[in-house]
């Protein structure tokens, strides 16, 4: 004998699947609106009644195709059947957007009761009514026990569509949630696309009117750049256009994908548009802006970010307030000039819900399942933004070159103007003005000349630095590495293979080679370390650690000049927010000066003392040496560029020190004969803590 069994569900499952999905009010109501869209409605109206307190009601009504009794029982009341991925279009050619399942259940359970009224388009003389009272389920053992009668009535008024009333709301909807609801409803069907209307949402609330009016303004024409990009069958292309649609730059797959150019994007076909606004900039392309900065900022505050649309319907949470899924703000923090943030841009990503690598939405409607396809979509969008940033960098550089030329010609124009004004004066005054102006011109020319020399010197030093780094790289990687390994091998073989009496003869030259290689290696490491890219990052920097690392790096130089470096640090680890490079340029230049002074004066007892003292929010670093002190120059002159006590010196070291300290908000003072008899520099830097 056999008997049949079947799964049945406890009513508790309704709460688990409904409330515990934890949908926000805007997501829940959005699900009902999506149902209206799928029913080919042209308008969907949402009424909110007494929602400021629990117990209120929400009515969602549409003029869509409605349902008959069969559709209600076979579809509407069946949970979990999703047609989301169906490629079957609706009568009006729309891709189904609603989940037809769990998301809608969560919406229906917002209240204690649901009243459904629906008139099918095929038979508008019949009205179907269904009421669900959720407390009935609490008393039942299994879900199926609660019968839901569908009442069929005559309908003389005609029309068609569905009206869903949620009665006795379990919670309240506050002002902020209402604004979020209005925003999410307005963004639900791609508002960027003028042509794709035909579905209108009306929310009967003042917040909606306000936000709708703002959305309608559409400041796209005021954008500084519009990035248009697509992926078709894995191949990307992009363009940057101005407000009139004129192309400013074009990129093919290779230019966008760069080092992975031979790989296709394993994403669905994508359209990615981004409108970038240079709100703080004086960029000339932005001067034609029609709207005020404040207006645009307010608009972007509401709608900014990159929104994603699948088959024309928005997918949350991408582009929601606080959702920066492309990490625009992080990238902007690093390159504020070239990168847009969510506050200065608006964008959309359009994807299809079918086809190769189609993205699948998560059951809890919290976005797409983050698979390879989604990751590739993100890579594509980020690569396009990186290309835009590179292009902007290039533009900025071109502008700088252009401005430089323009400044020179502007100078000649102004010179001519002054001369023509002088010519208008009487002869005596003319002479006086000409002399005065000639004097001014000579001083200015000298200043320009000095600056030019200084810039040239900086360029020469940079070139020397780059050349030194290249040399260091090459020698470290190949020749020195090979010498080092072979010296180690020789040492080991001498130990094992050479008779005791001959060992010394071989060991001595081998050790000499080893020592020389070690010195060369350290010099190379020091060179490379000084220019390391990481050191130019602004971050929390501990001063004592910087000093320790620097002294370690300079050991071959100080040892080579038989110099003892004494450290007397105050307590704690004082730190500030800066780059390691900035602090190193201060201390390395001062220590180098001391080493050079010893050499110049032939000092016998060579000592450098570095003493730090923390005083409230500042650190004092005193660097004293036992050299000759400042004897050939005036103490005030040493800071000037090009002034050096050493014939081979650049005269830029102390200028760099002073400029850097000014940037750090610090200061420097000097004593010609300090604590150790030689020069002593007192550096003061503001710190954040110890």
């Amino acid at each position: 004998m056999t008997t049949k069994g079947a799964f049945r569900f406890s009513p508790k499952i309704l709460a688990r699947l409904g409330e515990e999905l934890n949908q926000t009010a805007d997501q829940s109501i959005g699900e009902l609106v999506k149902n209206a869209y799928d029913a080919d409605a042209t308008v969907c109206r949402i009424e909110l009644l007494n929602i400021g307190q629990p117990g209120g009601s929400i009515i969602v009504s549409d003029d869509g195709d409605g349902m008959d009794a069969e559709a209600i029982t076979e579809k509407w009341l069946v949970l979990g059947r999703s047609e989301k991925n169906s490629e079957t279009l609706t009568r009006k050619g729309r891709y189904p957007a609603g989940s037809k399942g769990l998301g809608r259940l969560a919406a229906l359970r917002m209240g204690e009761k649901v009243q459904l009224e629906t008139i099918p388009r095929r038979n508008s003389r019949r009205l179907h009514e269904l009421t669900i009272t959720w407390s009935d389920f609490d008393r039942a053992k299994v879900v199926e026990q609660v019968e839901l009668p569908i009442e069929i009535k005559k309908n003389a008024k005609g029309g068609h569509g569905t009206r869903t009333k949620l009665i006795g709301l379990r919670g309240k909807i506050n002002g902020e949630e209402l604004r979020r609801l209005a925003r999410s409803l307005l963004l639900l069907t791609d508002p960027f696309n003028e042509s794709q209307q035909g579905f209108r949402i009306e929310l009967l609330a003042p917040e909606f009117r306000e936000i709708e009016a703002l959305l309608k303004k559409k400041y796209f024409d005021d954008a500084s750049y519009h990035l248009k990009s697509v992926v078709t069958k894995g191949v990307a292309s992009a363009s940057i256009v101005d407000w009139q649609g004129n192309v400013l730059a074009l990129a093919d797959h290779q230019k966008i994908r760069r080092r992975r150019a031979d790989e296709l994007y394993e994403s669905p076909d994508v359209v990615f548009d981004m409108w970038v606004f240079l709100l703080g900039s004086t960029d000339e392309m932005f001067s034609a802006r029609k709207a005020g900065k404040g207006e645009i900022q307010n608009w972007l505050k509401q709608f900014g970010g990159v929104h994603v649309y699948q088959d024309g319907i928005r997918v949350s949470p991408y582009g929601n307030a606080g959702n920066d899924w492309l990490e625009l703000n992080l990238a902007r923090a690093r390159s504020p000039e070239e990168r847009p943030s969510t506050n200065t841009s608006i964008g959309r990503v359009l994807v299809s819900g079918s086809g190769e690598n189609a993205l699948i939405q998560k059951t809890d409607r919290s976005g797409f399942i983050e698979n390879e396809g989604f990751s590739e979509l993100k890579s594509f969008a980020n690569d396009c933004l990186a290309w835009l940033a590179r292009w902007r960098l290039e533009q900025a550089e071109n502008r700088r070159t252009r401005e430089k030329k323009e400044t020179t010609s502007a100078l000649s124009i102004h010179q001519e103007k002054i001369k023509s004004v002088i010519a208008m004066l009487d002869e005596g005054a003319q002479k006086k003005f000409e002399n005065a102006f000639a004097g001014y011109e000579r001083t200015r020319d000298k200043e320009t000349d000095d600056l030019r020399k200084e810039v040239q010197l900086y360029r020469t030093l940079s070139t020397a630095g780059i050349t030194a780094a290249t040399f260091a790289h090459e020698s470290q990687g190949n020749s020195l590495k090979s010498i080092n390994i072979n010296v180690t091998t020789l040492r080991s073989r001498i130990k094992k293979l050479v008779p005791l009496q001959s060992k010394e003869k071989l060991s001595e030259p081998v050790e000499a080679i080893g020592d020389a290689a070690k010195s060369l290696a350290t010099l190379g490491v020091a060179t490379l370390s000084i220019i390391s890219n990481n050191k130019r990052r602004v971050e929390r920097v501990e001063i004592h650690a910087v000093l320790d690392n620097l002294l370690k790096l300079l050991t071959p130089f100080s040892d080579g000049r038989t110099t003892t470096v004494l450290r007397e640090y105050g307590q704690g680890s004082p730190f500030l927010r800066t780059s390691v490079a900035a602090l190193e340029s201060v201390f390395a230049n001062l220590i180098n000066n001391s080493l050079a002074a010893f050499e110049r004066a032939g000092t016998e007892d060579r000592r450098i003392r570095i003493k730090t003292t923390v005083r409230e929010t500042k650190i004092l670093v005193a660097i004293a040496d036992s050299g000759p002190g400042i004897i050939d120059l005036g103490v005030d002159d040493i800071w000037l560029p090009g002034i050096s006590a050493s014939p081979d010196g650049t005269g830029l070291g102390l200028t760099i020190v002073k400029d850097t300290l000014r940037d750090l908000g610090g200061s420097i003072a000097v004593e010609a004969a300090g604590a150790l008899g030689g020069a002593e520099f007192m550096v003061e830097i503001p710190i954040l803590g110890t």
Partner: protein, 233 residues
């Protein structure tokens, strides 16, 4: 010829460097160990192709870090050594950066147990390196390499490329006052990703992020620290 270390036989050491003169130099200590030294001469175009060169049971490797200056390899040594480690092939990275490891090496340190500076590449150093690898393949770690689950406090992060984030963090279980930086990939998506997203979110909200991870708390130097298995709880 072969040697047996911790019951594992090694008979061949493959030498990976884009400089022929350096590969020849690597050969010296290997010769002294009486092992077969084979230079990898052809371009390393893919990891699959690369691993086919190896007998996973009997081979070991010495590898340089910078391998991409010429067309010798599509990968740097950190990628190759960590790949071999994951395949249970003892491999040692030989680089002048040993005392100041670049971030690229540091974020793969979990799978790069030994980094030897060129001047220390000797028979003894090689034996020690290979033994360390073999022991770790059997989950036997030295004190400075043993992983412990611990709390990490992240105070800053910044992108350092399309797919990477550089975190500024403290590991109180290692040293509560010494900060360090650590680079983590943001792509491809891994199990760690949830924690990385949590970190970004917390920092964007102006908070300090706290997560858990496996860390070799016994490491003496900052650069020897490895961090993996990031988790929010």
């Amino acid at each position: 010829m072969s040697i047996t270390l911790l019951n594992r036989v090694i008979d061949t050491v493959r030498l990976i460097d884009d400089e022929p003169i350096v590969r020849t130099s690597y050969r010296q200590p290997v010769d002294d160990l009486n092992l077969n030294a084979i230079e990898v001469v052809n371009r390393i175009g893919s990891l699959a192709e690369f691993e086919r060169l190896f007998n996973f049971d009997r081979d070991a490797a010495i590898c340089d870090f910078n391998l991409k200056r010429r067309s010798y390899s599509a990968f740097d040594g950190d990628v190759l050594v960590s790949h071999l480690y994951k395949k249970n092939v003892p491999a040692v990275l030989c680089t002048r950066y040993a005392d100041d490891l670049p971030e690229a090496i540091r974020h793969r340190r979990r799978h790069i147990p030994i980094v030897i500076p060129p001047e220390e590449l000797s028979e003894e150093a090689l034996i020690h390196a290979f033994k360390t690898c073999i022991a770790e393949f059997r989950n036997q770690y030295s004190r400075d390499r043993k992983p412990w689950r611990t709390l990490i406090r992240i105070e800053g992060c910044e992108p350092t490329g399309a797919d990477q984030l550089r975190l500024s963090l403290f590991i109180p279980g290692w040293n509560s006052s010494e900060g360090l930086t650590f680079t983590v990939p943001t792509s491809p998506r891994t199990a760690d990703q949830k924690a990385i997203e949590h970190i970004q979110k917390e920092l964007q909200n102006g908070e300090v992020a706290r997560v858990y991870a496996q860390v070799n708390l016994g490491a003496e130097r900052k650069q020897d620290i490895y961090i993996y298995d990031w988790a929010v709880k």
